[in-house]
């Protein structure tokens, strides 16, 4: 009895949507339809997959499993405790991965916006739920859309140093990506067959040859994306797709130069690191100025404290002045430092002492990791732990000079770490202490 009443009531609600966007007649664009949506989906599918993979690699590049101090998300559990140790070659590995992650993320923004536009009527679908599965699918779509926009917003704000949120970027962007991907995978699983069948209803090539005057709505579809009462078109499908493409190309063209560096940097007009900073030996992009890190003038009294493993019988601690470091065999490496925010310094010529040679000085075994501490006061990334592989890399340096001149304060004077394929912030500046720790020893 009650069930019958409920069912009748549910049918009544379903048949009487509230006015406005909940009624199909409200949505009148003649361009909305499954083919249009499927085409945007087909662009996002590989794009988002690549975003996730490069993001995961970027996270692994911090070597979070090497030392708790490296781990910005220590409670990650199954979401990353299995990631391997990050290698030190090829030297451009992090540069390319992070450049792709940030630049591709920017390029995908107009496509995501267009995709959301194309399915927006579904947000106001009536009745809100037809079955338990339908209700769950809609809940999953909230994670999908909320997650996509959340990831783009946090990423875009982070590369502009606009920290207006009340949480840690690393935690939010990393776990947010997993929440988003959980919804993305099931969305692809549920909709891929529909995407493929919808793509077959029209040919992209002929659509790109169709002017406004010949633009017609798609055939009525079971998903109700096609308007039941389409307005006359004001733009062709190729025009709308062209507008999305032009927006993506503009974002790409006006930012990729900050990743490439060199003369290309001046083309990155709107990207955070597209500003020309001069052409002297130290005139390349800085991350975290000496003033911001609380570094005062460093004088002759500075010493590098070098601590070997406590287990070795030989001298296990020493302190070296800058003059003593300069008197040691010097090694030169041409490396670009790449930042998590997608930009790079471009290739610079670094000169200093090899980290592997320092390990030998204090009798450290070849499997030792290295804990590097900065003079930096407060803020993030005042220290980092490097893997044995990174310490042993041919071009891994404690750099004292760059491009033939002493380091400047902003670039880490008196000494800084430069390691191939290492995320920018782990190339510790203003180094004060280096501690070699054998594989068996607990890490800070």
């Amino acid at each position: 009895m009650t069930m019958t009443v409920l069912r009748r009531w549910a049918r009544r609600v379903a048949e009487h949507p509230p006015p406005g966007p909940f009624r199909a007649g409200f949505w009148r664009s003649p361009l909305r339809g499954p083919w249009f949506t499927a085409l945007l989906g087909a662009a996002l599918l590989p794009g988002i997959t690549l975003m996730f993979l490069t993001g995961l690699a970027s996270y692994a590049a911090y070597n979070p499993n090497l030392a708790t101090g490296n781990d910005t998300t220590p409670d990650k559990g199954l979401l990353g405790s299995w990631l391997p140790t990050w290698p030190a070659s090829p030297s451009w590995l992090y540069w390319v991965i992070q450049g792709v992650h940030v630049t591709l993320g920017l390029v995908l923004i107009p496509i995501v916006l267009a995709k959301l536009w194309s399915v927006l009527p579904k947000l106001f679908e009536w009745p809100p739920a037809r079955s338990i599965t339908h209700l769950l699918e809609r809940a999953s779509l909230l994670l999908l859309v909320g997650g996509a926009v959340f990831e783009l917003v946090t990423g875009v704000m982070n590369i502009q140093y606009f920290y207006a949120w009340p949480f840690s970027f690393y935690q939010a962007h990393y776990y947010g990506a997993w929440v988003f991907m959980s919804a993305f995978v099931v969305h692809v699983g549920l909709r891929l067959p529909r995407m493929v069948s919808a793509l077959r209803t029209r040919s992209l090539r002929s659509e790109l040859r169709t002017p406004l005057s010949a633009t017609t709505p798609e055939e009525p579809d079971p998903d109700h994306l096609v308007s039941p009462d389409p307005a006359p078109p004001t733009i062709s499908r190729r025009g709308a797709l062209g507008m999305v493409t032009a927006s993506s190309l503009a974002l790409f063209g006006l930012s990729v130069g900050q990743t490439i560096g060199g003369p290309a940097r001046s083309t990155a007009l709107l990207a955070p690191r597209g500003q020309d900073v001069g052409d002297g030996p130290a005139d390349f992009q800085v991350n975290k100025t000496a003033a911001a890190a609380g570094i005062g003038p460093v004088d002759e009294s500075w010493r590098l404290e070098l601590i070997g493993p406590a287990t070795t019988a030989v001298t296990s601690a020493m302190s070296l002045s800058r003059a003593q470091l300069l008197a040691l065999p010097q090694h030169t490496a041409r490396l670009s430092i790449a930042c998590v925010q997608g930009w790079s310094t471009g290739v610079q010529t670094w000169t200093g002492v090899r980290l592997a040679d320092r390990a030998g000085l204090v009798g450290s075994p070849s499997d030792a990791r290295l804990f590097v501490e900065s003079l930096q006061r407060g803020g993030g990334f005042g220290s980092a732990t490097l893997s044995a592989g990174q310490v042993g890399a041919r071009d891994a340096l404690l750099a004292l000079r760059v491009n033939g001149a002493d380091l400047t304060a902003d670039h880490g004077f008196p000494a800084r770490v430069v390691v191939p394929a290492l995320p920018g912030v782990h190339n510790t500046k203003w180094v004060t202490r280096m501690t070699f720790l054998p594989a068996s020893e607990a890490l800070p």
Binding site: L143, G146, M157, P211, S247, K288, A291
Partner: protein, 160 residues
């Protein structure tokens, strides 16, 4: 997989398990703050950004429908010559608004040693170039129509 079968239900439930595992970690620290930004991101897009741009466009289209004489220049419709540069410039503003609007002045200076001052004039210059290119394209189309109109009589052409 079928959208409504038992496999779909299981797939959704499995995805919620993963989302829950990550979600607990996402929310730890500041559940209200993160939750507000996560849900707020979707809400701001769906109920602010979309109505704003769609509303402005709909108003413009409605105006041109009521006053068809306004809609063309020498027989060439100009609506999309406004839409394209406006959308591209708008997307650039949307993405780079923190720097263009000079919001992270101190953090940007601390990180880079540089000023946020150049971004607003640069965005204005890019916008001016986009509108100039669009206007030049419209001018070329108008000139072509006028040329072909001399020997053969006026012809109408659709927008791109």
């Amino acid at each position: 997989m079928s959208r409504h079968g038992p496999v779909a239900l299981l797939a959704l439930l499995a995805s919620f398990v993963v989302a829950g595992y990550a979600g607990v970690r996402l929310l730890s620290g500041n559940p209200v703050g993160v939750g507000a930004w996560f849900v707020g991101s979707a809400v701001v897009h769906d109920l602010v950004l979309f109505p704003l741009y769609a509303g402005v466009d709909a108003a413009l289209v409605a105006l041109l429908r009521r006053r068809p004489a306004l809609a063309t220049v020498a027989g060439v419709p100009w609506l999309n010559h406004l839409r394209v540069p406006a959308v591209v410039s708008g997307v650039l503003l949307l993405v780079w608004s923190p720097l263009i609007l000079r919001l992270p002045t101190a953090t940007y200076l601390d990180a880079s040693g540089l000023s946020v001052q150049p971004f607003l004039p640069r965005w204005l210059a890019v916008t001016a170039v986009l509108f100039a290119i669009s206007a030049a394209t419209l001018a070329v189309r108008v000139a072509r129509i006028r040329q072909s109109a001399v020997p053969r009589g006026a012809g109408q052409r659709g927008a791109s």
